[in-house]
Symmetry: C2
Subunit: 326 residues, 2 copies
């Protein structure tokens, strides 16, 4: 499950979530195994869905559901919630790959590459619907509200990103809103679902902050690399016309970057040059600091009445997200 | 709302559902107006969604929700259910238009044509998610089960149709399964939702049968035309490689059609010729009879304990679907 393994990269990266699993013990490991078989069972109906889910990933959102519900006896309900969140995430990935003409994801062929855009579009729709079918079995309307609201937010974030493409003057506020919609809301839903099933104090604010930080760090990594860590060249967002936090901050510090028209970035090598210019302003480091502060405050503001083991597991999980970008 | 009006065709076609609205009185007319404003309000967040919904359509599924819930005082709940069903339907149309490179639908530019496939794919996803958000407000898990199950069925039907494309030897059984998934299940959900909100006897079998008949009649119309009735040339399904009931039946009657390779149909004019050959076997008429029998038995098998006005409205609605293809 490590990034290194999943992407077939050279070099050993210790899975930052091993510590969480360690702390959660056999129950958490069993739960994570259970959600894998559940995902396979759910998507068995369609070969493309199955392939998507089998290709795996970090399963960050299911892990957050389980950690947010740690100590609960309602294991089946937690597994359903974890599977539902991952199915929504998978659905958006399948559709993203269609839109990006992407041949590979996580080292496997995308549904788009394997079956064409027609089948991939329908497969994404199927995964969306199946997420709700799965969660409906839990019989709790509050859970379905959390999931559908996050799912709508994802699509709105995608629309916002495409509406803002190539606009170098995107405001910080608008960028943060996009990250909230695209990423933070589903993490918030994962925290909320775990807490709803487990009956503990609310954890959607924690999920939201951690999800936001996750997106910020991902965006920083695209600017700062290095490629041997991320498995792809720097500056792919720039080439897609997607403006992220480092560039937004760097534009305030550099006249050269302030007047840059993204459409003039001709190729990957030119994008590398822009990344270096952004990094030279210190904006990459500043963006990273903002993300780290989000994580730190999320940890500080965890509900006071959480059981100690669960608090530790949530903090380890937050640290794991940061470590990934250390 | 008549087909003629919506498509800007010449010639007056009396809206077959006027009789249903007449019978339902002011309450039903108000309800249908209410669902229109609700759909506009829900999709206000995004210009493409709004355009899709504003482009309108026959609103058959919302009408079925209302007629299935006729007499209920829970007007807001019925409107939410009606809007949710229409949002799922709209989501699939938006994605279908992307896959079909369709410039127009109901006389308006498609989201795909207006905003590109990226925005259209995300818009479809947004409409899917919003349907569940809307229905979740009703607070009834059984309603969400009905909708998610129908929504998953739609996507599976789409995958099935694309998997079977160009296969002239599709069996009758497989064709009927496809129609069930693609169309009947959402009509069944509309009947089920109305009955769930209204507290009356189950109407999903009625919705299922009527939805299946609707798909069969639509498929027959593509073979038998005439174009001035449908607003498009005959044989579009054949050109897409989609085998439907008339051809399945005709292949048993005609050696020429049994050996036909759909990929050899070069253009619209050739497709017209195949349509004429199919019709000459009587298969179009036979397919139409099967659909009419489905509708007749759906009417016969309506629950015995339905209020008389509601029974009449359901029968009028079923007749309206048939009249459309008279």
């Amino acid at each position: 499950m490590s990034e290194a393994g999943a992407n077939g990269r050279v070099g050993v990266v210790v899975d930052p979530f091993d510590a969480v699993l360690e702390l959660g013990g056999a129950a958490l490991r069993d739960a994570m195994a259970d959600v894998e078989s559940r995902l396979r069972e759910i998507t068995r109906i369609d070969v493309h869905s199955l392939g998507t889910v089998a290709a795996g990933g970090k399963r960050l959102r299911p892990l957050l559901v389980f950690v947010a519900g740690l100590g609960s006896e309602a294991r089946v309900e937690l597994s359903r919630a974890a599977a539902a969140v991952e199915l929504i995430h998978s659905a958006t990935l399948v559709h993203d790959d269609v839109l990006d003409d992407a041949p590979l994801r996580r080292g496997s062929r995308t549904v788009y590459a394997a079956a064409g855009r027609d089948a991939a579009t329908a497969t994404g729709d199927l995964l969306f619907s199946t997420a709700f079918t799965e969660l409906a079995h839990n019989g709790d309307i509050a859970q379905l509200r959390a999931l559908s609201s996050a799912s709508a937010a994802l699509a709105r974030g995608e629309l916002m990103q495409r509406a803002d493409a190539w606009r170098a003057d995107v405001t910080l506020e608008r960028y943060l809103k996009r990250c909230e919609l695209k990423t933070a809301r589903l993490f918030a839903a994962a925290g909320e679902l775990g807490a709803l099933v487990g009956g503990g104090p609310p954890l959607d604010p924690f999920g939201h902050a951690v999800g936001l930080a996750f997106q910020l760090l991902d965006d920083v990594l695209d600017i700062t690399g290095p490629a041997e860590r991320t498995g792809k060249r720097r500056g792919t967002d720039l080439l897609d016309g997607t403006v992220t936090l480092p560039l937004i901050l760097a534009r305030e510090r550099s006249e050269e970057l302030r007047v840059l028209d993204l459409r003039t970035i001709a190729d990957a090598s030119a994008a590398e040059g822009v990344c270096a210019a952004i990094e030279a302003t210190g904006a990459g480091e500043e963006a990273r600091s903002i993300a780290l502060e989000l994580v730190a405050s999320a940890k500080r503001e965890l509900p006071a009445n959480l059981p100690q083991t669960q608090r530790e597991a949530l903090c380890l999980m937050a640290d794991g997200l940061v470590d990934r970008y250390a």
